[in-house]
Amino acid sequence: MPRQIWLALLGLLLIILPFGLKGYTVYILSIAGANILAAVGLNLLMGYAGQVSIGQAAFLAIGGYTSALLMTKLGLSFWLAFPLAGMLTSLTGLILFIPALRLGTIYLAIATLGFGAAVQQLIPLPYWSAILGGHQGIRVPRPQIGSFVFDTDLELYYLTLVIVVVLLVLSWNVARSYIGRAFIALRDKPAAAEALGINPTRYKAYAFLVSAFLTGIAGALQAHLVGHISPGEFGLGKSIEIFAMVILGGIGSLPGSVLGAVFLTFLPHWLSEARLLYTFLYGAALVLVIIFMPYGVWGFFLRLYYRFPAMQKLFPKGA
C-alpha cells in the first residue's frame, strides 16, 4: 500500500484514539505530545547537526514561562503568545550557539549543562519572584481561541494533536531540505562541507534556533496542559530524560524520537504500580533497550524491515 494510505490510517487512529481511553490516559498522551516536540528539537540538534546538549530543560522552562507571562502580564491571547514564546526561546538558543562555535562535543556538553543549571537557579531568585513566582511557580492559563477555552482533557488532546502534527511536518521538511542535509554534511565531514560552500557558522546557528524553537514550544505546550509551571520541573533530570528519548528512539531519526518520547512518557506510569521497584526497572529498561537495540527502537525496526521481505512488500521503500 502506498504511504498516503498508511498515513491516513494513522491519522484516523490518532483522532479516534481518545474515545477508548480514560481521561487521565488522554492527558498523558497530550503530555507525550509536548515531549515529542522536545525530543525532535534535540534530535535535529544532536542527531542531525551533531551538537550534544544536556541543557534542553532550560529551553522548556523559558518557553513555558514566556507563554504564560505573555498571556497573564501582557494580556496577549493564546494564539499570539504561544508561537511568540517559541520564537523568543529560539533567540535564547543563540546563547549556546556562541560556545558551540569553538567547542568540541564533550566541552559543549558541559557548557549546555551549565546553561541548564544557570536557568534553573536564576528563575527562583527573589529579585523577580513577583513576576516568576519563585520556587512555587505560577499558574498558567488554559489555551483559548476566540471565546473557546480548551479545558477538558479531550479538547486539550486535539489541540495538542494539531500543534504536534503541524510542527512534525515542518521538522520533517527541515530535516529533508538543504538545511537538514547541510547539518549532516557539517556533522560528518566539516571540511568537505565547507569546501562545498556550506557556511558552518550559519548552519550551527540555524540548528540552535530550530532546536530551541521546538523545545520552547514544547515547554509552552506542557505548561498550558499542566496549568502550572515551577522551576523544580526543569532540572538536569528533565534534560537527561529528553536526551534518553532521542537515544532510545534512535539518534538521527525523527520517527524514532516520536516513539522514544511516547515510550518514556508512559514508562513511569506503567511502572508506578511497581513502587519500590520503579527506579530499578526504569534503569534496567534503559540498559536493556541499548543492549538489544543499539541503534534505538527505530534502528531495530529498520533491521526487521530489511530482514523480512514480507515487511518490504507491505511497506514499499520510501514509505
Binding site: Y107, A111, L113, A118, Q121, L122, A192
Partner: protein
C-alpha cells in the same frame, strides 16, 4: 581569612580532582563519559558506612575494602552492561551508564533507606592551627590521600606494563589491538580503577556532608566540570582542574555579596565556559587538530 578559604577550597578541590581523575581515565580508554560516576561513588560510600558505622571497623581498615568494592563494581558494570552494548554509538552508552546509575540508586534505597547517614572522620582529634589557618585532621587525610593516589596512579601508568597498555589503548585502539594488547580487558581495568577512585572520593566526602542518595550528583558535576576544565583527555589536567574548581567555589563563598553566594553553582560553570572560549581544549588538553 583568605588563607582559610584557600585551604578549604583546595581540600574540596582535591575531592573533585579524584572524581575527575576517575572520569577522565574511563573516558580516555573507552570514549565513554560515565554519568553513573555519582551513583557508583554514592554506593561505595554507603558500603563504607556499613563497614565503619555498622560493623565498627576503623577507617584505615574500611578504606581498602571500599577501594576493592569500587574496583569490582566498575569491572562488573563494564562486563555486564557496557560490553554487551558495545555495538551502540558512544552517545547511547551514556544512557547505559545512566541506567546503571538508576539501578544502583534503587538498590541503595532498599538497603540503606532514604534517611541521610553520617560517616565518621578518617582521623578524629582536635584541628591543627597553623598561624591563622585552622585545618582538621580529616582535611589532611583528604589532601594526603589525593597526593598519594594521584602519584601512585601516574606511576602505574608510566612504569607498569598495564599502564603502558592503557596509554596505548587510549591513543589508538586499533593499533593497540594489532600489537596484541587486550583492549577490552584494558577497558575493564580502566572502569575498575576509575570507579575505585570515585569510591575513595566518596568515603572521604561523606564525613563532610550528610550521605544520601543524591548528594554525590553535585560532586560528580563538579568533577565533570573539573575534568573538562583540565582538558578531558589529560590526567594531570583533571587534578589541576579539580583544585581550581574547588578554589574558585571557596573564594566565591568568601565574597560578602549575597547574590554571588546564591549563584555559586552557576558561576563555576560560567568561569569554565569563559575559560573554554579562550582555550577550547581545556587547560592541559591536547590541542584539537582539524584533519581534512
Amino acid at each position: 581569612m583568605l588563607e582559610q578559604y584557600i585551604v578549604l577550597g583546595l581540600v574540596q578541590g582535591s575531592l573533585y580532582a579524584l572524581m575527575a581523575l576517575g572520569m577522565v581515565l574511563i573516558f580516555k580508554t573507552t570514549d565513554i563519559v560515565n554519568f553513573g560516576q555519582a551513583d557508583m561513588t554514592m554506593f561505595s560510600a554507603y558500603v563504607g558506612f556499613t563497614l565503619t558505622v555498622g560493623l565498627g571497623w576503623p577507617f584505615w581498615a574500611a578504606l581498602p575494602v571500599v577501594i576493592l568494592f569500587g574496583f569490582l563494581l566498575g569491572v562488573a558494570v563494564e562486563r555486564l552492561a557496557l560490553r554487551p552494548a558495545k555495538e551502540a554509538p558512544v552517545v547511547s552508552l551514556l544512557i547505559v551508564t545512566l541506567g546503571v546509575a538508576l539501578m544502583l540508586n534503587a538498590l541503595a534505597s532498599w538497603i540503606w533507606g532514604f534517611d541521610p547517614k553520617s560517616l565518621p572522620y578518617a582521623i578524629s582529634g582536635p584541628p591543627l592551627v597553623l598561624g591563622n589557618i585552622i585545618i582538621t585532621r580529616h582535611d589532611l587525610v583528604v589532601f594526603g590521600t589525593t597526593i598519594v593516589l594521584s602519584l601512585g596512579f601516574f606511576a602505574l601508568l608510566k612504569f607498569t606494563k598495564v599502564g603502558t597498555a592503557m596509554r596505548a589503548a587510549a591513543q589508538n585502539k586499533l593499533g593497540a589491538q594489532l600489537l596484541g594488547i587486550p583492549v577490552s580487558r584494558i577497558a575493564m581495568m580502566s572502569w575498575g580503577l576509575g570507579v575505585a577512585l570515585g569510591a575513595v572520593a566518596g568515603v572521604l566526602i561523606a564525613p563532610l556532608v550528610f550521605l544520601d542518595l543524591t548528594v554525590m550528583v553535585f560532586v560528580m558535576l563538579k568533577g565533570f566540570a573539573a575534568a573538562v576544565l583540565g582538558g578531558f583527555t589529560s590526567l594531570p589536567g583533571a587534578i589541576v582542574g579539580g583544585l581550581l574548581v574547588g578554589l574558585f567555589e571557596s573564594l566565591l563563598i568568601a565574597v560578602p555579596f549575597e547574590l554571588i553566594n546564591q549563584l555559586k553553582e552557576t558561576l563555576v560553570f560560567v568561569l569554565i565556559i569563559v575559560l573554554l572560549a579562550v582555550r577550547p581544549q581545556g587547560l592541559l588538553g591536547e590541542p584539537i587538530h582539524r584533519r581534512v
